[in-house]
């Protein structure tokens, strides 16, 4: 019919435009690309400079940055520092966008250490800056004050110094001291399980094992009724993305760094983390060893004592614990203030201890390679992370410190009950891969491993598929 012919012609016309565009496109001149500006020396004594700082907006981080900005404005007037708080969900996207488009929206960023591989090409080499402006280097900075693992993980990439450690984060075990110190429950527990119900304290030499953790969770879930209404043993985050990848890393890391693990997989590579063997193969692949399956099964069992882990991310997993319906909570040490603040229903009943295998999170501050003010930017990040300020920021905003001097300060430890656990946690902890494909790893793990919680995949099959997918991602990106 005439009408449909016209429509078909319209459609063909549209298709024609598309193909015409394709032909045009292939003959078109080279796509314009952006070249990064080299780090050049700015003119001396120029007009006042404003450093733009993009910091993750989370308990204390952005507050710390703003406090330091205030100090910076006084100390280095008329130069100024301007802090913008950026939400976690969008921080990586925005950073990547800023770097790859040369938009130069921020001079300084807080970079999660596991993102370093993704953005390393766009971060300024701090050694170069120090060489170029020797006068701004603080002689009292004391780099050795940082635990070695933090400096290696947060501050370096392939041998270059690309950031300064800003905020430490280790997965910690929070628990209800009123429940664990209750004599009646202790007696019941001993009767049921045959050993004492207690948690490692400051100065103890023994560590909590994973089977003990499971017993505790089981006991407080169904072994004793300690509240009216629903109760849980532990809050475990396993949401797709960062939480799933990190928490499973904790479970797997426990086995990975055990003597059996070292025998099966070799040592842990600093850049590749606990998920990989020494020769860069996916370690939890059932074909290589059954330790991966063991870890996953443990994770699933432990998850039974938690509100639906697949839905809990970092913050939502703290909610049930904070509301008082869970006996334990595995989360970042930085949540201490929100759990013990004046608004918290459980404020005087919380204590911390080490997880069987802590996991390292954490942030550095780094400088945008394209920045026009490397000198002022370095002054800022140095100020943010020096010895005195680390202590000051910890006291003021409970910003988890990265310096040993703060972590082992006896006065601070007496005042803040969560501080003691930080230094010991850093002696042995699991790490994530710092590779450039980490975002894809996170999503892949969410797609495949995440299906285990919904029952769509069996654990062993899931691990197999997961290992295969990760290997493909690596191959795709050309990383050995």
């Amino acid at each position: 019919m005439k009408k449909s012919k016209i429509t078909r012609r319209d459609f063909l016309k549209g298709a024609g435009i598309l193909t015409g565009g394709a032909v045009l496109a292939s003959c078109a001149p080279k796509l314009a690309t952006t070249e990064p500006a080299a780090v050049t020396a700015p003119p001396a004594a120029a007009e006042p400079v404003t450093i733009r700082v993009g910091i993750m907006s989370a308990h204390g981080m952005s507050d710390s940055a703003e406090e330091i900005a205030r100090i910076y404005n006084e100390k280095f007037a008329p130069n100024k520092a301007e802090v913008t708080a950026i939400g976690f969900e969008t921080l990586l996207d925005k950073m990547l966008q800023d770097f790859t488009t040369g938009a130069n929206s921020f001079d300084v960023y807080s970079v999660g250490y596991h993102w370093i591989g993704t953005v390393a090409n766009y971060l300024a080499d701090l050694d170069e800056i120090r060489k170029q402006y020797p006068d701004i280097v603080d002689p009292n900075y004391d780099q050795a004050d940082f635990p070695k693992i933090l400096w290696d993980t947060y501050a370096t990439w392939q041998g270059k110094n690309i950031g300064l450690p800003f905020v430490d984060g280790t997965l910690t075990l929070f628990y209800r001291s009123d429940l664990f110190e209750n004599a009646d429950y202790q007696a019941q527990f001993k009767a049921k399980y045959g050993y004492d119900l207690k948690m490692p304290q400051d100065g103890d030499t023994w560590k909590l094992t994973s089977s003990q953790l499971k017993d505790y969770a089981e006991f407080f879930m169904s072994g004793v009724k300690w509240r009216d209404g629903e109760q849980y043993g532990i809050c475990l985050p396993a949401k797709v993305g960062d939480p799933l990848l990190s928490t499973f890393c904790t479970m797997f890391g426990d086995l990975r760094r055990s003597p059996d693990g070292i025998k099966a997989f070799g040592e842990v590579d600093a850049d590749w983390g606990d998920y990989f063997t020494q020769d860069h193969k996916v370690a939890f692949d059932p074909a290589i060893s059954d330790l991966g399956l063991k870890a996953l099964n443990y994770y699933l069992e432990l998850g039974k004592f938690s509100p639906n882990p697949a839905d809990l991310d970092w913050i939502t997993s703290s909610e049930p614990f904070r509301a008082g319906i869970s006996a334990m909570f595995a989360g970042w040490g930085g949540y201490w203030p929100s759990l013990t603040g004046p608004d918290s229903p459980i404020k005087d009943k919380v204590k911390v201890t080490m997880l069987p295998m802590p996991h390292l999170g954490g942030w550095n501050v780094a400088i945008n390679k394209d920045t026009k003010h490397p000198r002022e930017a370095y002054q800022y990040i140095q100020l943010l992370t020096n010895k005195e300020n680390c202590k000051m920021l910890y006291e003021k905003f409970t910003e988890t410190p990265t310096r040993l001097s703060t972590m082992t300060d006896e006065n601070l430890k007496a005042k803040y009950l969560d501080l003691w656990v930080m230094a010991p946690s850093l002696e042995l902890c699991s790490t994530r891969p710092k590779l450039s494909v980490l975002p894809q790893f996170e999503q892949s793990m969410g797609n495949i491993l995440g299906k285990v919680w919904t029952g769509e995949l069996q654990p062993e099959e899931a691990l197999r598929q997961q290992a295969e997918d990760w290997t493909n991602i690596l191959k795709d990106a050309g990383i050995a």
Partner: protein
């Protein structure tokens, strides 16, 4: 007879009840948003849920606009910066909205007049413009990102306005075609007889006659730009040019209790443009949402 009357009354009662239920369903979320925005942090995630708060605060709004002093009746949060001030984002949204809707209106009006009065494109142009609406914003966002990246215009209001112009221009054109067709040609002929050109007639006769349509198009265009997220998110990095919806996404992962009150306050502000203009544009809403294809 009385049974019929009873049935009639019952059905009326039923309809009233259903209407009230529907009203509750549609208005409750708005009530909840406003409520959350004036609650204290501790009350937001209280268990059991607080339906009618005993204590309210406007501190959430103050924080939203950059207030740094003590809030929520305690010194604990003094000086805390939960999120940066929403003001630059609002300004950006207004800028982008105004620029793209005005430019779209002017250009679209010209285009619409050409189609309506001169038959340009013989209807096929009209349907081509209509088909633009069906294109996925993601498909627009990626090449726009590439082009602006090459011109180093990422994170500027120019980029976002231009991208939104691509939406507002066809929109204005399609809507105004209907309006212009209703302008009686005798008036235009009369003006031309007096010696004015087509352009003169356009400005002196046609435009004033479609003035209500112009205003409606302007408002709805502005709202479309105000609401748009995907493209604005793709083309911006920082408060330099980010619009209000992008600011809202910053609340996707927040510390509950403390920041959700602020998020809700932000949401309330986001609703304001619509709430302000709903009574004016309700006449043209269907036309606006179907880009002129459906006139009620």
């Amino acid at each position: 007879m009385s049974i019929d009357l009873l049935k009639n009354r019952l059905s009326k009662l039923l309809r009233y009840l259903l209407l009230i239920a529907a009203l509750a369903y549609f208005l409750f979320p708005i009530y909840w948003l406003v409520l959350t925005s004036i609650k204290f942090p501790g009350d937001v995630t209280a268990n059991p849920v607080i339906w009618i708060p005993k204590r309210v605060t406007i501190d959430n709004f103050r924080l939203l606009f950059g207030y740094k002093g003590p809030v929520w009746g305690t010194e604990e949060y003094t000086g805390r910066s939960f999120y940066q001030s929403v003001t630059p984002y609002l300004l950006n949204s207004v800028t982008v909205g105004v620029v793209s809707s005005v430019a779209g209106l002017l250009l679209g009006a010209a285009l619409a007049y050409g189609i309506a009065k001169f038959g340009v494109g013989r209807g096929r142009l009209y349907s081509w413009i209509l088909s633009l609406r069906m294109v996925h914003p993601v498909v627009i966002a990626i090449p726009m990102f590439l082009v602006f990246r090459a011109f180093r215009l990422i994170d500027t209001w120019v980029a976002v306005s231009t991208a939104h112009l691509l939406i507002s221009l066809p929109f204005a054109a399609l809507l105004l075609v209907g309006f212009f067709s209703d302008v009686p040609n005798e008036l235009i002929d009369a003006a031309r007889l007096e010696g004015s050109t087509h352009i003169g007639a356009f400005f002196r006769v046609a435009l004033p006659m479609v003035a209500p349509g112009l205003v409606a198009v302007l408002i709805i265009s502005f709202l479309n730009s105000w609401n748009e997220l995907l493209i604005a998110n793709a083309l911006t990095n920082s408060a330099r040019s980010q619009t209000f919806p992008v600011f809202t996404t910053g609340f996707a992962q927040v510390e509950r209790g403390t920041a959700w009150g602020i998020a809700a306050a932000g949401g309330v502000i986001g609703m304001l443009p619509m709430l302000i203009s709903v009574f004016y544009i309700q006449r043209y809403l269907v036309r606006g949402l179907t880009m002129g294809a459906v006139i009620e």
